[in-house]
């Protein structure tokens, strides 16, 4: 039970006003300055030859290469394939994890009975399945799909189980004394309690799904940005390698921001979100 500190941490924050909070704008400007320092620093390292420019090309070259990519249809095709693989795998993992989690979580016997198996299967690294999916599907997108599904499913399942276990006993008893049917209980008692956990699951699973999608592309050769990175690197096109890594990183940032946005929209009524907005 104790293993969910990353969830819902904001609720534990003290309610009082934080002392001497500097303006958000100052923070934003400092952030921009930080990005600029890193970009300028690596440009300088490369231009002066402190770091071999063959390994670390100047940032300006990386971005020139990036803008070159933006004009190529192949790049957009790869981007689309990566995002599509990520989205399908994540959606399947969410759907499966929520349904299985609700069923297992609301029946105490099942929960106790499956506990040891879940604890055993969860830490099995999904990359262990790489050889198997290669045999089964080769470089087809199904390979990536299976890896993404396996990795993201456990994240979702475990969070949903925590969420269902978190239901207030009084609410559950009240629902029972009003003779709510199982579906009604699931909808109006379990779901609101579990929703914050589901959102945490979404955030974690979205990041893991992207990691596994890119891994499958890079290692197995499933079409997508990951495979392009491998090709660019082995053909010695260093600026393009960096450009693609930057693109993948930006996708990751986008995924994180998207997950936080969904969390905010879905949980606008929840104290953990409401207390954050000043």
């Amino acid at each position: 039970m104790s293993s969910s500190p990353p969830t819902l941490a904001p609720t534990r924050r003290a309610a009082g006003p934080r002392p001497r909070r500097r303006g958000r704008r100052t923070d934003a400007w400092l952030g921009v300055a930080g990005v600029f320092i890193v970009l300028a620093g690596s440009e300088l390292l490369s231009r002066t030859g402190i770091v071999n420019p063959d390994f670390l090309p100047p940032v300006t070259e990386m971005y020139a290469s990036l803008f070159g990519l933006l004009g190529e249809a192949d790049f957009w095709e790869s981007l689309w394939l990566t995002v599509r693989g990520w989205a399908i795998g994540l959606a399947a993992a969410m759907a499966l994890g929520i349904v299985v989690g609700f069923v297992i979580g609301s029946i105490p016997f099942l929960r106790a009975f499956t506990n040891s198996t879940i604890e055993f299967l969860r830490p099995i690294p999904s990359v262990a399945l790489i050889p198997l999916v290669v045999l089964l599907f080769g470089t087809q997108p199904q390979s990536a799909f299976l890896l993404v599904l396996y990795a993201a499913f456990w994240q979702v399942l475990v969070q949903v189980l925590y969420g269902v276990a978190d239901v207030d006993p009084v609410a559950r008893d009240t629902a029972r004394s009003y003779r709510f049917g199982p579906l009604r209980v699931a909808r109006s008692v379990i779901y609101p309690t579990a929703l914050p956990y589901i959102m945490t699951a979404f955030r974690l699973a979205a990041a893991v799904a992207l990691i596994l999608e890119i891994t499958a592309e890079l290692v197995i050769g499933v079409p997508g940005l990951g495979r392009d990175i491998g090709i660019a690197q082995s053909s010695g096109n260093v600026p393009e390698t960096y450009a693609l890594v930057i693109v993948v990183g930006l996708i990751g940032v986008g995924v994180n921001m998207f997950a936080r946005l969904v969390e905010r929209k879905a949980l606008w009524w929840h104290p953990s979100v409401r207390s954050e907005t000043p």
């Binding site: 921009v32 690294p125 990359v127 262990a128 990175i229 994180n256």
Partner: protein
Amino acid sequence: MTVPRLARKAFMLLGLPIILVAVWWVASAGSTSPFWPPLQTILETFPATWTWDRIVQDVMPSLARLGIGYGLAVVIGVAAGTAIGLMPRLRALSEPVLEFFRAVPPPVLVPIIALFAGYTGWLGKIITIALGCLWPILLNTVEGVRGLEPVLGDTAKSYHLSPWRRLVFVVLPGASPRIFAGARQALSIGVILMVISELFGANRGLGAAIVQFQRSFAIPQMWTGIILLGLIGVVLAALFKAVENRMLAWYVGQRQIERGE
């Protein structure tokens, strides 16, 4: 504990795993499909495949690299994370950059590190593991230090604790639940990277061995590799949990009291 309760507990713990293994055993018993060899065959090839020689040559180096890389990530992550968490201005300066590096899926670092360090030796692999594990630990440490109870900080100040003692007795213990949360995420990433880092170039190691089995269509051997890797993941997770339970015993107890258990 009475005998029936003990039996019930054992049934709950072992029932499903035994059923699943039995189903696998029976369902695959007469299997002639090359991809799904009978479980019996897999188990029979296990001792022959993972001989002591192979464990020393392939498994030990992999685990050693994981240990070194992970250890580096913990030390650097906690040190840098504490510094950033204690200095608001530094945090504001570095936050967007850190967000970006965290969002980069760690496996794409492999081609870039391959440029710098080459990928035949240990160095590239250790750097890959350390860099991949660093971000969850670093960012969680920052959050943990930042979310420290203000009363604790004020109390330490009014008792005139020296900065060093404040760090050791107030800041680090206060942040430790979040640090452990980050370290747990990092551990599973580390195992993934341990395997992936061995898939590039001609190499030895656990991940490389499994892929070689697959490429040479030694399918039962490949399955033993998958099972071994799974077991390693499970053992590492259990070890982590044991360390965490020991070091965070105060926190677990506190949470139980808060929840009225």
